[in-house]
Amino acid sequence: MNRIEGRDKVTGRARYAYEYPADDVAYAYPVQSPVARGTITSFDALGALAMPGVIAVLSSAEPPELGPDASPELALFQGREVAYHGQIVAAIVAETLEAARAAEKELRISYQAEPHDVRLRPDHPGLYAPDHVNPNFPTDTEQGDVTAGLAAAAFSVDATYTTPAMHNNPMEPHAAMAVWDSAGALTIYDSTQGPSADRDTIAQALGLPPERVRVVSPHVGGGFGSKGTTRPHAIVAALAARAAGRPVKVALTRQQMFDVTGYRTPTIQRLRLGADGDGRLTALVHDVVEQSSTLVEFAEQTATPSRVMYAAPALRTTHRLVRLDVPTPSWMRAPGECPGMFALESAIDELAIAAGLDPVELRIRNEPGTEPESGLPFSSRNLVGCLHEGARRFGWEHRDPRPGIRREGRWLIGTGVAASTYPARRRPSQATATVHNGGFVVRIAAADIGTGARTALTRIAAQALDTSADRVRVELGDSALPAASLAGGSMGTSSWGSAVVKACEAMRKDGQTGHADTTEDVNADGGFARHAFGAQFVEVRVDPLTGEVRVPRLLGVFAVGRVIDETLARSQLIGGMTMGLGMALMEETVMDEGSGSFLNHDLAQYHIAACADVQDIDAAWISEEDAHLNPMGAKGIGEIGIVGTAAAVANAVYHATGRRVRDLPITPAKLLD
């Protein structure tokens, strides 16, 4: 089955948020702070308002009315304090985007700049333990006697790994069009990963009841987490449309996206592992240092994979956060697992080398019987199966562990392995199913952010109805549809699919229509630890004279429950692995300490993997039955592909060269040091 909206997308008929037509539409351009910390001392919009085509200027000079509970990142133009470079301090509304941008030069804003602090460091005096880490995990955990476990170890690793700030860069920029009707109700065409939550957040920010707001988003050009929470462009559009009395469009520039759509926090992670003479862990300690803004506390759950992966009689994980004068970090594909598994899986490789064991074997020896942190049984866990199948397909068996000894021409060759993991959760959602014109219509406020959710849900519904997919139409991407959870946390298909199946079953009973709400089902999800697992195998070539690293082979084998659509699954997994390859070798947002701003804020400077970087890449999955997940027996696949890739690459670079790079990305500069 082809992607349902594929033809619409390739022919340009699929409409994205910015493309909706509206009569008499105006355009707003957000104006950003050039200082990283300080106060606006004066504001003069007269010159800008006198520019041709300018309709209005929004700013804290005349704070627009908002709701009392607007989140600090969305409470626009309410105060004069500046919390970070690039914070939105004004918006110019004009007849055209060009007129709005041209007027920026005539806007006079004076600032009292104050010294800023934008550098994450492990000895920062402002480090503290947050109350919890994203979304609601404990900040610290400890079980067993870590000190004794480390002291008793025959082999040990004590190393610090660092990952830089990284940015999601969906192809479609964050964009919205806001339209108020004469009764004061708002329709927002938004680029969002969840129309229900977006509606609620926008309504809260504006102080409106949710039923007065409608979010429309049938097509979304990627998000990766950056569209999972409402972003200020939507509030700018709503406020500008209210001020102008006309529909208003806002699209962030690529550069603006680096400041106001979230990013992956840089991390500093210390891993301490101890193992006995057989390579079995005696202790595992994972200590994380990371940052948030002064506006909002976002504490990434970086150490959480260490609570899941390996059997260790003594296990400690900690997170410490410092609030800097920086933009607020947020979700980027596999927050927590992605940076955390770079550190853990690099350290496991180092332990295998110290213990003289094959890294696949070391992982197998440390396979836990139950989830290490909770003691709960796994609903299913097939990491070992993935390691075996991956090793077989990759040809791992005859690997010589000695580093730096394989050469082809100018290239040193190495191979590496790392594990992947990601939680398999679901959230409450609602759906309806109705008989319609000899077929069936399924309605749910799900989001298709390019994943193929519309297609996957159509297949799920068709199976539940025991009919063919062409008789089912799925309507999604609209908050007027039955409320649903986000496309996030790899929970979309599991959450929405549960509601769709239930609605279809209800319709079959009713004969005409069925409605489902999975709140009770989801609340009853206990008793098991639910996670997907995988293993990634990488071959790298490193030119030791230039430091160039190329990846001729990348294989991922995953255990993700039942795969609903093989084409879409492969595309999700390969997409994640490709993003992981970019994380390993090139992705890094540079913080310019002098100005306190992200420096390389466009795609010419912030490098993601190009086609030429991706050579032989393959994703496969092993058969996995799991009756404790959801009616489909499926685990989410949006994020696990990026988890472990960077460690596998780093481990292969070590195998090729004998050089261990613990600081991402692995650039020529680091290999030539």
Partner: protein
């Protein structure tokens, strides 16, 4: 973007006659239009010189005459270029992406501006963009910037550590290519790498061009004897500027000594850096790894790396030695 006027010139004379203060010539626009969007370039008047008929590649004596409006992709694909100047074809193909090369012209490629992050961001000081405002790259992020010929040692109002981004220009520098220029005072020829200049105390000036000057063609001398190539090192496999690149040609005598060599480095300086000292060291010397290393060290003795780009010295040395070894017969 600021409003501007646009005109398409009929011929070279018309283009030059139209030039006034605030005018910029427009070729493929692959860099200039970006800079206008960023507010870095703010011309009042764009004179389009992409359709003056200077889009041919023709034999000229034993060399080649390349019109300034020839697209990069056409230059790299031309049989006479591929046959006689593989270094140039490879350099052009190492740059940008297929789509950009289809638009970018030879003249525009030579005149593209540095991709230094600070230069491209009008919210930041930059002596090149705004003379006298300072150079935050020196204390900030300069990992991709210059190690040779920069002006970090000068006073704050003159400092500049920018690099020239072109790959093509590096090959042209190694080839002694001639740049044909027509300006308000007539026509002249400049030998590469002499088109570009070191920052000195005027980092806002990239080249020796004077107001109104228009590049009309690039002339290649006869093909070099021996073997030649272009190597480019970057962390991404395509569509990235060079950390360091090298255009190299090597001609070896029957007795194993170097008859002639050409070496030019990219990504290391404000200009495509002709490694003349290395060439002199090597000419007449045995074509061995030891001599290649000695030549590279001679060239890089004058490198002045900044705190975070010292790796480029190692990289340039390794690249010179490894590439010359590859070129041995």
């Amino acid at each position: 973007m600021r409003p501007f006027e646009y005109a398409r010139a009929r011929d070279t004379g018309d283009a030059v006659a139209r030039f006034r203060a605030g005018t910029m010539y427009l070729g493929g626009g692959t860099n200039l239009v970006d800079l206008m969007r960023l507010g870095v370039a703010e011309p009042d008047y764009l004179v389009d010189v992409s359709r003056l008929g200077a889009d041919q590649i023709e034999p000229s004596g034993d060399g080649l005459l390349i019109g300034a409006a020839v697209r990069n992709s056409d230059l790299a694909a031309h049989p006479l270029v591929r046959e006689g100047y593989p270094m140039l074809a490879r350099a052009v193909l190492a740059g940008a992406s297929g789509q950009v090369r289809n638009m970018a012209t030879v003249g525009g490629n030579l005149l593209q501006r540095t991709r230094c992050s600070y230069f491209q961001d009008v919210s930041k000081p930059c002596n090149k963009r705004q003379p006298g405002s300072g150079c935050p790259a020196i204390s900030g992020d300069h990992h991709s910037l210059a190690i040779l010929g920069h002006s970090a040692g000068l006073n704050e109002a003159a400092q500049c550590v920018a690099t020239h981004p072109s790959d093509m220009a590096v090959a042209l520098a190694a080839l002694d290519a001639l740049v044909h220029i027509t300006g308000p005072d007539g026509s002249r020829v400049v030998v590469m790498p002499g088109l570009h200049r070191l920052p000195g105390d005027e980092p806002d000036r990239d080249t020796v061009l004077r107001p109104g000057d228009l590049i009309t063609a690039v002339e290649l001398p006869p093909p070099l004897p021996g073997r030649s190539t272009y190597r480019k090192v970057r962390e991404r496999a395509s569509f990235a500027f060079a950390l360091v690149s090298l255009a190299a040609a090597l001609d070896v005598n029957g007795d194993g000594t170097v008859r002639g060599c050409r070496l030019a480095l990219g990504g290391v300086a404000h200009v495509p850096w002709r490694a003349a000292r290395a060439e002199r060291t090597l000419t007449g010397a045995p074509a061995t790894a030891e001599e290649f290393t000695r030549a590279a060290d001679a060239e890089l003795a004058e490198a002045e790396p900044l705190p975070r780009n010292g790796y480029k010295v190692t990289l340039a040395r390794n690249l010179i030695v490894a590439t010359l070894q590859e070129l041995l017969p």
